[in-house]
């Protein structure tokens, strides 16, 4: 084994503490070190994934105490897949914003990169940790770096967005604590595997209520319907790449948390139906709202929320095919939505309100960015031969196998709306005339590389989905096998 899961947390934190010191000596180090760390995390996740696929789950304990006592990190095919995805996106976001922040002062740019790095770290921590209170701590890390990143631009209305986020986040974290305490008071443990094992001992009423509090708390980050008021504002006001980071990293971590609760910790069958209901409402409301947006980033934000609803639906199907589909959707959504945010923020660069009409005629001025945006739009609509098609097909197949005919119909009808609003933008890019005289910003070389990387992934996965389907399949098997998770964690011989 090369390295260990704990390095996913230790190295970025070490770097975060070192950066203020090195920044005094060499100013560029504050930009470069986070990139190196994120690249390291990505490389580490790949090497660990290789190890995991041969030798099975890695359970890493902290401070040498076996799981019920100490905190443990679990690097299984499932968590490892998400880690790989998140760290990759984190690196892409860094690459994209490497020069983007050049015109910003030294101190804010240092803060930006530290916060970005810790945002990724926190999300990875949520995914890897095997302890619910530790998960709470990581959720707070993600939240606070999210608040900081959202309000990065002092000239926008970003503080308003960040405050809404913080308001919801604070309420959520309170209820998360209550839920954790209810479980602790009944079972006397905080370890997820241990809780899962002892869960049948718990009183049914308390079980229901604690799950309710958990759903409220994690739902805020997972952007499920009535709790996602903050999300569009944050996506709009945060710097462009951070929107991608939220859509691709933070929300994924939150979805992971809720999935871990329902699939591993609790033993309710009805929770899956709840997932479907919540996901469906989120999906419908978000997509219909996105249809009527006049600002680009807001539209992307609602679309992102809607996609997360779809992921919830896929997880709610509850079969292995459903999990496979959900993971595939998460992967695609992370890649494609990042591509859209990246290219979209150059299409409306320097415009105050980022109206959709500002993209008019950009196909002539920013050809590559426009093409990438178009590819992203087509992919997220689910048109073949782009990658979005395969995930949509997987969701529908999984739903059909579970005989959910009406669900399929609703998903497809709403998908038409999605197609409409994306194509409206694409039409504007190519077939409308640019009216205003404002300057367009050519993407810097690093941003272009990041976008092209994502675009290539979209195309490659579209033509050859088997590149990742092995990972997805193993991850889905891993998530469905609750007993194995408990066994792996509790019987570690360290």
């Amino acid at each position: 084994m090369v390295g260990s899961p704990v390095l996913f947390v230790a190295i970025p934190l070490l770097a975060a503490f070192i950066i203020p010191l090195t920044g005094m000596i060499w100013k560029n180090s504050v930009r470069i070190i986070p990139g190196l760390v994120l690249a390291f995390m990505f490389a580490l996740s790949i090497s660990l994934m290789g190890y995991v696929s041969e030798h099975g789950t890695i359970v890493e304990v902290i401070a040498g105490w076996k799981p019920p006592i100490g905190i443990n990190l679990v690097f299984s095919p499932f968590t490892g897949f998400l880690t790989m995805l998140m760290t990759f996106l984190g690196f892409m976001v860094w690459l994209y914003s490497y020069k983007f922040k050049r015109n910003v002062d030294f101190e804010p740019s240092m803060k930006y990169f530290i916060l970005l790095m810790l945002l990724v770290t926190g999300s990875v921590g949520i995914v890897l940790t095997g302890d619910i209170f530790n998960m709470f701590v990581f959720i707070e890390i993600v939240s606070i770096s999210g608040y900081g990143l959202t309000s990065f631009y002092t000239r926008r209305d970003s503080a308003e967005a960040a405050f809404k986020f913080l308001f919801m986040g604070a309420i959520a974290s309170t209820f998360l604590l209550i839920a954790i305490m209810i479980i602790y008071s009944q079972l006397g443990t905080l370890n997820i595997a241990d809780i899962a094992e002892k869960m049948p001992l718990m009183d049914n009423k308390l079980k229901v209520l604690s799950l309710v509090f958990f759903i409220l708390a994690i739902g805020v980050e997972a952007e499920i319907f009535p709790l996602n008021g903050w999300a569009p504002d944050v996506y709009t006001q945060a710097p462009g790449p951070i929107g991608a980071a939220f859509a691709g990293i933070v929300v994924k971590a939150a979805i992971y948390a809720s999935v871990r609760l329902v699939y591993t910790m609790y033993d309710f069958g009805g929770a899956f139906d709840l997932f479907i209901i919540i996901g469906l409402i989120t999906f419908i409301v978000a997509e219909t709202t996105a249809l009527r947006q006049d600002r680009l980033k807001r539209m992307l934000a609602y679309s992102s929320i809607g996609q997360m609803g779809l992921v919830m639906i896929a997880f709610g199907i509850g079969t292995k095919e459903g999990v496979y589909a959900a993971l595939f959707l998460m992967f695609n959504h992370a890649i494609i939505k990042s591509l859209l945010f990246f290219s979209g923020s150059y299409l409306v660069f320097n415009k105050k309100n980022k109206y959709i009409k500002h993209v008019n005629g950009m196909g002539k001025y920013l050809p590559i960015t426009s093409v990438l945006f178009t590819i992203g739009s087509f992919a997220i609509i689910g048109l073949p031969p782009f990658s979005g098609f395969w995930s949509k097909l997987a969701v529908l197949t999984a739903a059909a196998d579970s005989k959910m005919v009406i669900l399929i119909a609703v998903i497809l009808i709403i998908s038409i709306l999605e197609a409409v609003y994306y194509l409206r933008v694409v039409n504007r890019i190519y077939f409308f005339d640019k009216k205003e005289k404002t300057e367009t910003q050519k993407p810097s070389i690093n941003a272009l590389i990041a976008m092209i990387c994502l675009g290539i992934i979209v195309l490659v996965i579209g033509f050859y989905p088997d590149l990742i389907s092995g990972y997805l399949d193993r991850a889905a098997t891993d998530l469905m096998d609750k007993g194995n998770y408990i066994k792996e964690v509790l019987t570690i011989n360290k």
Binding site: V9, I71, Y112, Y147, G188, T189
Partner: protein, 231 residues
């Protein structure tokens, strides 16, 4: 209307919460084989730390503490970002009334003792109530006193950064030393000593001191940033 909805929903929420917690009961323990006893006995027998809360915070659940320190670090970073303005105005302050001479000299007298108290609290974190957080906070309140009293009292920003970063690096390095020598992050690498001894508990004392410095520096930094925020 809105208020009525809120009151009704709060009422229902309160009802459910009370229902839950009366069910749980006060002063009784529901679980038989929880981790509590393991923590108590391990803390006593293996770590030789008398304050069990400290051993939990620093060792058993040291990862939480690392996260917590990171949260503070993030808060001060985010705060600096949120309130960042281009012009630096060191020396200007927003405290409205100049302090009286009595307060000034009193503060001067109190400040060393507050710092000393804080240092004591975090050094003895594994023996008595208190520890890095408490001690760090106490030191920060000492700086707060000075900042409030003296119009031109300024804390060197760089020095705060040094303390903050070095303490953080120390914490993680200890963890990494444990990882590389014993195979597990934050694992104890020093002899544990005897119970109720100042030098007991292995790395716990060192980590708590690092945490103390870090928390003190971060909280001071936060207050300093907010305090110098003026239109």
């Amino acid at each position: 209307m809105k208020i009525a909805i809120i009151l009704i929903s709060l009422g229902i929420l309160g009802f459910y919460l009370m229902d839950i917690f009366f069910g749980i009961g006060f002063g009784v323990q529901h679980f038989s084989n929880g981790v509590k006893d393991l923590y108590l006995s391990n803390s006593k027998d293996i770590l030789k730390v008398s304050n069990v809360v400290t051993s939990i915070v620093v060792n058993f659940r040291g990862f939480d503490t690392l996260g917590e320190v990171t949260v503070l670090f993030l808060a001060s970073t985010a705060l600096g970002g949120i309130l960042y303005k281009k012009r630096h105005h060191v020396g200007e302050r927003s405290v409205l009334f100049p302090a009286s001479r009595i307060v000034m000299s009193g503060a001067k007298l109190l400040f060393p003792s507050i710092v000393l108290l804080g240092a004591y609290v975090f050094i003895h974190g594994h023996l008595s109530p208190g520890g890095g957080f408490q001690g760090g906070t106490i030191i920060a309140t000492g700086f707060l006193l000075m900042l409030l009293t003296y119009r031109n009292y300024s804390v060197s920003h760089n020095r705060l950064v040094y303390f903050e970063s070095l303490a953080g690096i120390l914490f993680i390095s200890i963890g990494l030393v444990g990882y590389f020598s014993k195979g597990s992050f934050l694992e104890n690498v020093l002899p544990v000593g005897n119970m109720n001894d100042l030098f007991s508990g292995g790395v716990i004392g060192i980590i708590y001191i690092a945490v103390g410095f870090k928390v003190a520096a971060e909280l001071t930094g936060i207050i300093y940033t907010v305090l110098h925020e003026k239109d």
